[in-house]
């Protein structure tokens, strides 16, 4: 059953259009990856769905109800949680406090502080450490944990591998694999195309704010997707810097 439906969504970033008439759906339990070059509108799109970026046009429907005008904190209460680009932990607060704050919306569900310690043993070790003292991998685990504490029905992940060593990225995706197995509906933006293709069920390619291709991950090849990064016309001019 369709969990999220986005119709004709538009948004601007400063003076420039960032998202232009984007429409797509995601069914419950699905993992969708958004791919595209920098500036394609991926982060803006996630932030619009989360409610922290204003909508210029179009509508968003979550679980059958329109949420286009709903403020961000109400969307969290409804079950949408975003892990923002760059983690954005609260630096003066400890891991435990960051996780507690994640439960502000009071949504019931499987995730609790105890369950968090079990599922993320690396967090249990740094429970009382201040977020500003954590390594990149630890911050990422905490940020994902903080979003999970809201017991979301839809999890949005923005560039979780950014700035992490390959080993740390492996760790993050191992945790995400568990979530996937538990059928958590997820939309992720991931710089590493190979990981996106391996992890997601479906891929949507964005170029300059528009959807230029979408399909089942297993059916799409790297080259096909790479073509859409730049658009076919730029392939003809291959070799000339932007």
């Amino acid at each position: 059953m369709t969990l999220l439906r986005v119709e004709g969504l538009s948004a601007v970033h400063g003076l420039l259009p960032a998202v232009r008439g984007v429409s797509f759906e995601i069914t419950e339990g699905e993992t969708l990856a958004l791919v595209g070059a920098n500036g394609a509108g991926k982060t803006t799109l996630l932030r619009v769905i989360a409610g922290v970026h204003p909508v210029a046009g179009g509508r968003i429907e979550f679980d059958g109800t329109e949420i286009t005008a709903l403020p961000a904190h109400r969307r969290v209460a409804d079950g949408i949680a975003l892990v923002p680009e760059g983690r954005r932990l609260f630096p003066g607060m400890t891991v435990e406090e960051n996780l507690r704050v994640g439960a502000t919306s009071g949504r019931p569900g499987a995730w609790s502080l105890d369950r968090m310690r079990e599922a993320f043993p690396q967090l249990a070790r740094i429970w009382q450490s201040k977020a500003s003292h954590l390594s990149g991998g630890e911050q990422q685990a905490t940020a994902i944990g903080r979003a999970l504490m809201a017991n979301p029905r839809l999890l949005l992940l923005d560039e979780v591998s950014l700035g992490l060593s390959p080993k740390a990225v492996d760790g993050v995706y191992d945790s995400l694999q568990h979530l996937k197995a538990a059928r958590t509906t997820t939309i992720l933006v991931e710089q590493d195309l190979n990981r996106s293709l391996a992890f997601a069920d479906r891929i949507i390619c964005l170029l300059e704010g528009r959807i230029v291709a979408q399909g089942i991950a297993a059916d799409m090849s790297r080259d096909q997707v790479m073509d859409h990064y730049f658009g076919a016309h730029r392939r003809a001019a291959h070799g000339v810097p932007a």
């Binding site: 400063g14 003076l15 500036g39 700035g163 992490l164 060593s165 390959p166 760790g171 710089q191 195309l193």
Partner: protein, 228 residues
């Protein structure tokens, strides 16, 4: 943060630095650039000891750097950012300065946005601006901090081309990076750091095969390190 780190960079060499978060990579860069003072030890540039020199003085000597999170002069245009770098860090003026800026703009594919205010740029252009601005100071050594982060494979390929062109001009490079397959295309030597120390130093493929490096940094999974 750093624990008895020793290494040397030769003229025109390109050195990559990898390591887990918190290993001290950026701290090392900051110490070389003059942003941090070391509590012990010395930094030599060509034949002189530059440990006591400020970051600005080192820049004028020829040590240029970029920042992990781009720090442009927001209210100034791209061109003005570069001119500031060329006239102060690079020590040139007038015609020579603007020629150097135009050259930087071409090299980093920023001609189209030269008159845009830095604060209106997207992430990719900000990163290009960091690089262009460092180049405008006329460096002999260029210190790069995770300049490949967040780039798609196509954008990363362009970056590698630009770095190769910079090397052809005789500039030495020190490059901290997590996107290993990109790094490998541009460097001669690789260093891996962990917990404030250098744990491996030498031929890139050998370093990446080193057991300590695999354990601390790469992790056990298969990693596609071939150029894409």
């Amino acid at each position: 943060m750093l624990n008895e780190v020793d290494f040397a960079l030769n003229e025109g060499e390109a050195l990559g630095i990898v390591g887990p978060n918190g290993a001290g990579k950026t701290s090392l860069l900051n110490v070389m650039a003059g942003a941090y003072r070391p509590s012990a030890g010395a930094i030599g540039f060509r034949d002189s000891d530059v440990t006591a020199l400020s970051a600005a003085q080192r820049c004028r000597l020829g040590i240029g750097r970029t920042h992990q999170i781009p720090r442009p002069f927001s209210r100034m245009t791209v061109f003005e950012n570069l001119m500031t770098a060329a006239t102060h860090g690079g020590g040139c003026s007038g015609r020579e300065a603007s020629d150097r800026c135009i050259d930087s703009l071409r090299l980093c594919a920023m001609m189209k946005v030269a008159n845009r205010r830095a604060e209106t740029l997207g992430l990719l252009d900000r990163k290009r601006l960091e690089l262009a601005r460092a180049l405008a100071t006329g460096p002999v050594v260029l210190l790069l901090d995770e300049i490949g982060a967040g780039l798609t494979d196509g954008e990363a390929a362009e970056l590698v081309e630009t770095i190769r062109e910079i090397r052809r001009r005789g500039v030495a490079i020190v490059w901290i990076e997590h996107i290993v397959h990109v790094l490998l295309q541009a460097i001669d030597r690789l260093v891996c750091m962990d917990a404030g120390q250098i744990i491996a130093n030498g031929d890139p493929q050998a370093v990446l095969a080193d057991a300590h490096v695999v354990d601390a940094y790469l992790g056990g999974g298969a990693h596609d390190l071939a150029p894409r």
